[in-house]
């Protein structure tokens, strides 16, 4: 039996809201998802496990209909869904009364339930979130035999969502030995596979916000005689890239911008799209005046951080100006009762204001 394990699709999310590409990203999430379903259909995969947060928010009826259509289209592939903390089955949720196509099994209850698929000799377990937060460890003490007798040589797969303190805290070691052949997790947006291969987070299908760096996609798995084997399929079209632009005091602002652009062009693989988080590191000349906003215009940049330091030797500056305002300022600023990075800022603001306007 072959399956796809995915989670945290967050349909309806608008990543990088406010930027020129946010609409493209939002649509891209849908397309990526439909792509997976299409792949499942073409490859005649047996089942698709969607482990929570299929939707970014409470789904509207028309959204459920759109997704249902695609689910129905990929029949006879069976789809198994649980609701996560972003799209919980609340009292007023559209999930409550929605009737899915025949090939979809939605584990609606807030207590773990199981379903048996005889063609695969496989039991699938799952529960849905009915609230945004669940602090009880609902997966602890969960074992297949609690649900009654099982067919011989059957496989037990648990669909789960959470794993942190406010979303069903989990002891992974305990869970490893609970008797499930595979536990398909959702909630963490980064893919992760336990050493034993028995527990995996598929990660988000496409990165949803700028903290979701690295590869994204889904887990492709197979139930073999020796157990369940999975491998990660990086499918995401979009990636968030951390770009460090190294500068020195000799570079002009135009040069720095060109360097940044070069790095951005090199970082994008063909066919993929990237959103950049630019950090400027190195030393900059005291004279350098730049408008960091210009970096946003170089491409798809979501964040710019200035981690550069001024090209001045503060100690030397201090010793040369001990008696005057500059020296005394340095002395006073160093003794401030503030965080180190804020102190540094105060120091630089003062030094720069005196330096910029002095007759040096």
């Amino acid at each position: 039996m072959r399956f796809f394990h995915l989670a945290d699709v967050h349909l309806g999310a608008v990543p990088d809201k406010g930027t020129a590409w946010s609409d493209e990203r939002a649509r891209g999430i849908y397309e990526s998802f439909y792509q997976v379903l299409e792949t499942a259909r073409l490859e005649q995969v047996d089942g698709v496990f969607i482990c929570g947060d299929l939707f970014h928010r409470q789904p509207l009826l028309r959204e459920l209909k759109e997704v249902s259509y695609h689910f129905a289209r990929c029949a006879p592939v069976r789809i198994f869904i649980i609701a996560g903390n972003h799209d919980p089955v609340t009292e007023r949720s559209n999930y409550v009364n929605y009737s899915w196509p025949d090939n979809v099994i939605f584990f609606k209850g807030d207590a773990c339930a199981r379903t048996y698929i005889s063609e695969w000799n496989c039991y699938i377990y799952g529960l849905s979130y009915h609230d945004r937060e669940i602090i009880r460890p609902l997966y602890a003490n969960l074992r297949p035999d609690l649900f009654g007798a099982a067919a011989p040589d059957s496989t037990h797969i648990l669909l789960a969502h959470g794993g942190d303190s406010r979303h069903i805290p989990v002891h992974f070691n305990e869970l490893e030995n609970a008797g499930f052949d595979y536990i398909a997790f959702g909630h963490i947006h980064r893919p992760w596979l336990a050493k034993s291969g028995r527990i995996a987070y598929s990660g988000a299908l496409e990165p949803v916000d700028k903290e979701d760096e690295g590869p994204h996609g889904y887990m492709e798995g197979e139930v073999t005689a020796k157990g369940v084997r999975v491998r990660f399929v990086p499918q995401a079209t979009w990636t968030y890239v951390n770009l460090n632009v190294e500068i020195n005091g000799q570079m002009s602002w135009e040069e720095i911008k060109d360097r940044a652009k070069q790095l951005m062009d090199r970082a994008v693989k063909p066919g993929r799209k990237a959103v950049f988080k630019v950090t400027i590191i190195g030393t900059r000349d005291m004279d350098m005046v730049w408008d960091l906003d210009e970096l946003y215009r170089l491409g798809q940049v979501i964040q710019v951080t200035d981690a550069s330091e001024y090209d001045i030797d503060i100690e030397r500056l201090y010793s040369q100006n001990k008696d005057n305002l500059l020296g005394r300022f340095i002395e006073r600023a160093k003794d401030l009762d503030m965080d180190e990075d804020m102190k540094k800022k105060v120091l630089y603001y003062g030094i720069r204001s005196l330096y910029d306007t002095g007759d040096r």
């Binding site: 309806g12 928010r57 409470q58 789904p59 509207l60 009826l61 028309r62 007023r92 949720s93 559209n94 005091g249 000349d285 005291m286 004279d287 090209d311 010793s319 040369q320 100006n321 001990k322 008696d323 005057n324 305002l325 500059l326 020296g327 005394r328 300022f329 006073r332 600023a333 401030l336 503030m338 804020m342 800022k345 105060v346 120091l347 603001y349 003062g350 720069r352 204001s353 005196l354 910029d356 306007t357 002095g358 007759d359 040096r360």
Partner: protein, 613 residues
Amino acid sequence: MIIKELWLTHFGKFHDFHMELGPSMNIISGGNEAGKSTVYHFIEAMFFGARRLRGRAASSDMYSRFQPWEGKNSYEGTMIFEHQGMTYRLYRNFYKTEVSVTLVCLDTNKVIPLPDGTLENFIENFTEENFENTIGVAQTQSRLSRSFARTLQTQAVNMAMTGSSRLRLDSALECLERERRRLRRGSADGELEALGKKETYCRQELEENRQRLEMLDGELEKFSEEDLKRKLESSEKGLESCQMAIGALSEKLSQHAAQAGRNRAPLSPRQPPLGSHGSSTDRPSYGLTSHGHDPRLEKTGSRLPVWLYGVLLVAGILTGVILAGIHEHIPLPALRLFLVLTAFLMVCGLLGFVRGIFEQRRELSGRAFDEERHRSIRESDGEEESHGREAAGLQMELARMEEKKRALEQRHKICLQALEQYRQIRERRAWEQEQYSRISNTLEDVIEEDQRLRDKIREEKKEELCVDTARKILEELAGEIHESFGKPLADRASELMNRITGEERQFIINEKLEMMVDNSQDFVPVSRLSEGALEQLYLAVRLGAAKLLFKDATVPLILDDTFAYYDDQRLRTVLSWFASEYKGQVIVLTCQHRECDILDGLNEDYNYVNLER
């Protein structure tokens, strides 16, 4: 400290140039391009090293300026000076790859370590900065009165407020203010407010939506869809059976009518046809009014009763008879009139009477006619009565069925309406449900955005705090410096001016950071002073600063072409003060002979060095 000898081994245009200096006044003379400024900068470089700058001013830094013309590999010099009773030899190699400095005490032959390459530990506050502000009077000042006044003002104030003639407090504060404004400009406070309003609006909408849903649910409860459907079905069935019954009855009735039509005796054409086919609700019409009179007859009724006409006739006859009897006794005109009257009466009466009689006869015949008709009708009635009764019975049955049908139709209509209403409410409810999802999603977006903005504002505020802190510190420190240095400086300068010129003047630096001078009535900007006075003030400020910074240590005063614009009188005043009152070494670099001449005239000793040997 007193500089005794200078060796410009390789420095600028000088190559193995040696100079000896005296403990008090020294005049170093040389024309333009003789190298006066080079000597000045050599002394500075020996004290503090040849500064190599990066970035800005790299091409004009001291290192580049004074690289030896000959033999670029060697760039060095030596100075012998006396300090606190001991003699020292200071050697420096300026060459970039071999930079070194050595200080040896010639009296003890001991090397004095200079860990940071400077003499700062040797003499307190002996920094390059301080040198340039005080005792090193370089040849850079503009001599145009207004800008010089401003320069002086700026430098003095800078000194007073920052302790350095180069650092400007006012522009530094302005710079920080600009930063703060720039930060403020991007502030998200306004956005937060708008978002807050949107959140309130969303919550309101959500509440209204909840209420509407509740209400709709309540309304839906009143209905039972199954119930309604059942009722609808039953009324439909009922209608069907009704319709069938009505159909059957109508069929029967029409059969009856056909039968009746065939059985009835034909009547005179004057008779209106008996109408009993057609609408069964009409009563058969016999063409008679309720009174039994033919309405036609009524119309032609005479106006006066018959007997009246009879009376008129008799009256006429009587009148004639009477007249016949008495005709002789009546005058002729009157007799004629009476005759006419009599005749009239008789005629009228006769005519009316005759007509009345005719009419009566006609009526009688009509009545007789009607009676005959009644008779014939009653005859056929007799036959039809039984038919009629049957028909009537059927009619009533029909009517009842029709009534029932109407009632069922009504019920059916009500059912349909109710079902329609139910469906509408249900649709409405589904729509509201969708709205709920939509609004609650929007609300979540708003809350998320709100959080993001708050974080952003927090960061901005932190940044602003840094700027404000920097500013606060600068202001505080400037105040302190002004207190501890600026005021005494102004006082010292005033004192010196007094001593040099003999005039009492008070200088202050006011809170607007302007240097003011007391002109015995008020404090006015120093720019009001004459050019010469400004020059002197300039010196006085520097000397005052030197005194404050270096305190008791005597340090050489090096003046590079400072007196070029002094007039003779002023020059004399200054030189005589230096000669008589200034305790330290003075090195005057000049391209003129005036200084020498004046000093000769004052009979003062000085050491003379001619650069153009």
